[in-house]
Symmetry: C2
Subunit: 336 residues, 2 copies
């Protein structure tokens, strides 16, 4: 590249846009579907149900302990597709870049996207690049939209959740939120906290194996575990009871949260899934999760009851029960 920073002309649609695409995006995302460089990608898919999911990423800072906006932009959409029971296949990606972004930063972000996509086995098949004037955006915003195939018989709607089902979370919660907050505020802890940012592709095998013993899945991102449990309680029309002592939180995150007066139950996660599983399958399911590297800290944290419908109750470590509300107001802005 002739320049070391992004110029407005890189978004012109003309010669410099073409060079940016050729030099940065095509080289990194290189695949046969993107290659013809049309206005869209042409995909050959078998008949059946598809999942489609979209997310824009506006996280600040762009690079953080455990990841960057590029890795996050793949993880977020891949995990949403998995939550729909889909095998993620194809992603589109659209960049809104602030004039002046160092091209070396863009290269790192794009390399990180390509590497994460490779790990999952998804292809980045079509894209878009816009450039806005300095001060009209903040570094770079990335949208990814994904599609995946839902295997026959899979239908992970909250309405399938029954009283007696178990609630599993696939690992420690709060790491992403705390890692971002700590970096932003310049806090450092004796044990550094890394974002859990990860594409949960190992769950593909669990969908294959457990099929409809899995009732419903959702990834607890913005708003954290508490907000996701509340959403599902309302959508499924059931009560959810969790035990505080069973919710896995790392010592570092718990300590930092205590110090800062934050609650890990409301902290964002970017590599975790909350899974509702039929009671009879729960033990095997958990054992299988423990065998996989991405979910070795999975824990059974609660169960579904008919009452109180639409609400989440937490049994505290002292045995009392309290209502776990949905996140009100703002927690940590631009966490993803």
């Amino acid at each position: 590249m002739k320049h070391d920073r992004i110029l407005l002309a890189h978004g012109s649609g003309g010669l410099m846009s073409q060079r940016l695409i050729d030099e940065i995006f095509k080289k990194a995302f290189n695949n046969d579907i993107m290659e013809p460089m049309l206005d869209g990608a042409i995909l050959d898919l078998p008949a059946g149900k598809l999942a489609m999911s979209t997310d824009s990423f506006v996280i600040t800072p762009l690079f953080f302990p455990g990841g960057d906006i590029g890795k996050l932009s793949i993880c977020g959409t891949v995990n949403d597709l998995l939550a729909c029971g889909a095998q993620p296949l194809y992603l589109s990606t659209a960049f809104i870049i602030e004039e002046g972004l160092p091209i070396s930063d863009l290269r790192s972000i794009v390399a990180s996207m390509a590497e994460t996509a490779r790990q999952v086995g998804v292809k980045l098949v079509t894209g878009d690049t816009k450039v806005v004037e300095k001060g009209s955006a903040d570094g770079v915003f990335i949208n990814t939209t994904g599609i995946g195939i839902i295997p026959a018989g899979i239908d992970y709607l909250p309405q399938r959740i029954n009283s007696g089902d178990k609630v599993i979370v696939t690992g420690n919660i709060g790491d992403h939120g705390l890692a971002i907050l700590a970096q932003r505020e310049g806090l450092s802890f004796s044990t550094p906290v890394l974002s859990d940012c990860a594409p949960l592709y190992q769950l593909k095998d669990m969908i294959d194996k457990y099929q409809d013993a899995i009732r419903c899945m959702r990834d607890p991102t913005r708003g954290g575990l508490a907000t996701v449990l509340n959403e599902i309680a309302v959508q499924a029309g059931v009560g959810i009871r969790v035990k505080e002592a069973d919710i896995p939180v790392s010592v570092a995150v718990q300590g930092a949260c205590d110090m800062l007066g934050m609650d890990p139950l409301y902290m964002a996660n970017e590599g975790k899934m909350v899974i509702f599983v039929a009671a009879e399958a729960a033990e095997d399911f958990l054992n299988d999760l423990h065998k996989m590297s991405q979910t070795e800290n999975a824990a059974l944290i609660g169960r579904v009851s008919p009452e109180p419908a639409g609400m989440v109750l937490v049994e505290t470590e002292l045995g009392a029960e309290r209502i776990l509300g949905v996140l009100e107001g703002e927690h940590i802005p631009r966490i993803c």
Copy 2:
């Protein structure tokens, strides 16, 4: 809504995000696929080829003569799908909103998206909303990603273009670019120029009728007609010869361009298509375009020749021939 402007908390993922989604997005985009409000949309599609296309829209100003960012965000992606030969079906939409945006503006934009989608017959099935601090974006940026089905036998790749094929443009060029420029600069003309922003859904019937007599289509947005012709000449490995006198430009746009020293061939369009058609079908094709409201000013502007491969030549009104280059540098930033 309790507030009249967007707050950071509307992007929290918690209660206020939920209210924003319920009050603004769900009401406007209301459909059975979006209704379950999962992490993604579940779609039932027949087997066959799909097209997938993505675009982020960063246009300024948000409201302009002939449209707004909402309408544009549907037109852009719908037209890209049509250019792939696809019947547009489903769109995702992701908003990045600057804190402080008047909620009444968001409502207008969303209403305009819903109305345009209804007109085309596409459904907005899944979405995402992020809010960034005042000064970290500019009003609102919208991403739409669409998928559509490509009928069997349709394969509109530039490689299908042959020497002798005709080049058609579906109407007057330059209107969008000039309308935005004029509004931004506070220029007014005796005949007001409106953006041509339109979803070219009437072309669906032309794809059905003409099948592979259509070789390739592309919408001349950023970079204008000149840039699209150059892209195709390179991708197809052919020469393209157009006649300046045959390229339809309205009197108002031509006059304004002359005054401003701009060239309409490089001005953005948001409701036009460049179509390469087999010579023997071109006359009927053009007649059919003239019968439809969206393409009544369509014109045959040129033809494909083996030489000079990868280049576009314009025959000027005086009979001379000049090379029509691709857009270099920046033309008009944030035009879409």
